[in-house]
């Protein structure tokens, strides 16, 4: 099994080289963005330093003064001090936007990982839950009579094109009261019920005309969508079995597949294959296993990029405010108080930024994601459970808090005499 898996991985790598290249590009782009943000921040610092020395002003555009924390305030009021709030300065919007952009890229990489995971696990879960039968018998030499407990169906395979890849579309002909499929196709050679995977990938609607081809026979078949089925396994369309026999020129009671919830006693020589529900479960799980390391890598990379962006941006804010920090150090402000004065306002920016960036990154990734897997015919169920959003949001706030507390070292390093040196 392991051998097969690794072989498969290699093959997967070879055939999907383009996809991996695209992924690599995205990561490189992310890193580039981080580097350029930092680079431009450096430039801004240098620029403002020149400006400062020329005009003898402190550039305070980046700084935010906020009232002391509740703790500090209660400490002061307990001593009978009367407190007047200092207006919180609105930060230059450009800086906030830069920070949110950096966050966005990092979150997008994380979202890519999560989308990947959610898709794979959804494919597995839905495949399992949508497979209502226990056995599927595919005939090589169909019989005349349907086995007693089985349900006859007629299966053909057509194909569709997805960004240059040819993907299989299974056409299942069933009668109106199937036990194993919830689709209820109407009679008619050009009428079909399509499944949700097709809708998710191509955005088809009821009433649309869809065309699939049979490459072997070099024929195109077009159908009008009459309904959409929740059946999510692969790309599947359902037809009325009678109409389907007509369409493909088969006898009146032709069938080539039997579904059943019990093992049937059929001559093996007649059969092409037997698929059990267990087989389906196993193959669906392989998907998750294959993707798992990629998912972990993406989430880790995104998280690292995020932390780096955050640390550098907040660090830049402190660097830019070095003069102001030096000044209030002269007055006897302690590093923690300085941090709360200069950085606590950022919590607001981060909180609001995350509230915007998380759904935005998710939306963007959901749009891009199908193009990463154009060669897999599968459902594209990417929606997250609500608690995942909450978790991401709080993880961001947590990272911010940790990085904020790390920056106290940077504040400690600023000497109170800095501002005096620069003036002389």
């Amino acid at each position: 099994m392991n051998k097969i898996l690794s072989k498969r991985l290699l093959r997967d790598l070879r055939t999907n080289i383009g996809r991996y290249a695209a992924l690599l590009l995205l990561i490189v782009m992310g890193i580039y963005l981080v580097v350029s943000i930092v680079g431009s921040a450096e430039m801004i610092i240098r620029g403002t330093e020149n400006h400062k020395s020329v005009n003898m002003v402190e550039d305070g555009q980046f700084t935010v003064f906020v009232p002391l924390s509740d703790e500090n305030i209660s400490e002061l009021t307990d001593d009978g001090t009367q407190i007047e709030p200092i207006r919180q300065l609105v930060r230059e919007s450009r800086s906030a936007v830069t920070m949110i952009c950096g966050m966005l890229v990092a979150i997008m990489v994380v979202m890519l990982g999560l989308d990947c995971y959610v898709m794979c696990s959804n494919v597995r879960d839905y495949t399992v839950s949508d497979t209502k039968y226990e056995y599927q018998y595919l005939y090589k030499y169909p019989e005349k009579t349907v086995p007693e407990v089985g349900e006859a169906a007629y299966i053909e395979t057509l194909s569709t094109d997805c960004m240059g890849y040819t993907l299989d579309v299974t056409v299942i002909g069933i009668d109106g009261k199937s036990k194993y499929f919830d689709a209820r196709p109407e009679k008619g050679k050009t009428k079909a019920v399509i499944n949700s995977s097709l809708v998710e990938r191509y955005g088809y609607k009821v009433g649309d005309r869809v065309v699939f081809s049979n490459s072997a026979a070099d024929a195109d078949y077009s159908f009008t969508v009459t309904d959409i089925s929740d059946y999510s396994v692969g790309f599947t369309i359902f037809m009325d079995i009678g109409s389907m026999r007509e369409l493909f020129g088969k006898d009146e009671d032709y069938f080539n597949t039997v579904y059943s919830d019990k093992r049937l006693d059929i001559d093996e020589g007649r059969l092409y294959s037997v698929t059990t529900k267990e087989d389906i479960e196993r193959s669906a799980s392989v998907f998750v296993k294959l993707m798992f390391s990629l998912v972990v890598t993406l989430i880790a990379a995104g998280t690292v990029v995020f932390c780096v962006v955050m640390y550098l941006m907040l660090g830049v804010m402190i660097d830019r405010s070095a003069m102001g920090i030096s000044l209030i150090k002269i007055f006897g402000y302690r590093p923690k108080e300085i941090r709360s004065l200069y950085l606590n306002g950022n919590l607001f920016v981060v909180a609001v930024g995350a509230a915007i960036a998380v759904p935005l990154a998710k939306k963007a990734m959901d749009m891009i994601f199908p193009s990463f897997i154009p060669n897999v015919a599968c459902a594209m169920k990417l929606s997250f459970p609500w608690y995942l959003y909450v978790m991401i949001y709080f993880a961001i706030i947590l990272v911010y808090t940790v990085i904020n507390s790390l920056l106290i070292r940077k504040i400690r390093k600023i000497s109170p005499a800095e501002i005096l040196k620069n003036r002389e």
Binding site: G60, L68, R87, L89, I330, F331, G332, E337, L420, E424
Partner: protein
């Protein structure tokens, strides 16, 4: 003695760039005294003031403020020492540009134990009508008044001024000095004023003249000239 400075030495740099700025300064100041430190540029006035203010560390010697030795204090202790005792006024006002006058003063008020009433102070300094302006909207003297208000709002025991009138013309310099005098009388604040102006020494209780990192001369004025009557500012 409220302030006791004993044999303070301070040098900067190493090897070729080594310079000994303070070569053993000893002096002292009584509580409530106004004092001028005078000397030519580069004589070490600011360095001495920064050592007293805990902004710079001395190499050896002793500085006691109200009985507390500050030599050897760690940065955090120095910070608390400044917080509890000192007010600073600089030549370049060093106001926070994106805070209004009132807010600039409030920054210092937050960490004070027994701060003064901010409105009263604004009134004394003639800043009431400017309290909501930003530093850039003020004239030099108004900015310096704001810096003084900021230094005074916490009612410091010791006020350190490094060339407080250095960037002002003679008329506005006088205004500032009159103000300092008034504050000294009203609150009994001990003041150390660094200047190279030759006239300010006449208004204070004590004069210390520094040359080449040593106290060249120090004396107490028998008769003080009120700031309003100073000439050649």
């Amino acid at each position: 003695m409220y302030l006791q400075v004993k044999d303070v030495k301070k040098s900067y740099g190493k090897d070729t760039s080594y310079i000994q700025v303070l070569k053993g300064v000893s002096t002292g100041l009584e509580r409530g005294q106004m004092c001028v430190i005078q000397g030519t540029s580069g004589s070490g006035k600011s360095t001495l003031l920064n050592c007293i203010g805990g902004l710079d560390t001395m190499d050896s010697g002793s500085i006691k403020v109200d009985g507390t030795e500050i030599f050897g204090m760690k940065p955090a202790q120095l910070s608390d020492y400044r917080r509890d005792n000192l007010g600073f006024i600089f030549q370049f006002y060093n106001l926070v540009p994106n805070l209004t006058v009132r807010e600039n003063i409030q920054i210092c008020r937050y960490i004070a134990e027994k701060p003064l009433d901010i409105d009263e102070l604004l009134d004394t300094l003639g800043l009431t009508e400017h309290q909501n302006k930003f530093p850039a909207q003020l004239s030099g003297v108004q900015q310096q008044r704001c810096a003084i208000a900021r230094a005074l709002v916490k009612n410091p025991k010791l006020l350190l001024c490094d060339e407080p009138t250095g960037a002002l013309d003679s008329k506005t310099s006088r205004d500032i000095l009159v103000l300092l005098e008034k504050i000294n009388e009203k609150y009994g604040t001990t003041m150390l004023i660094v200047t190279h102006n030759n006239s300010i020494k006449n208004m204070v209780h004590k004069v210390i003249i520094i040359k080449d990192g040593l106290v060249k001369k120090e004396y107490e004025n028998e008769k003080r000239v009120p700031a309003a009557e100073l000439e050649d500012l």
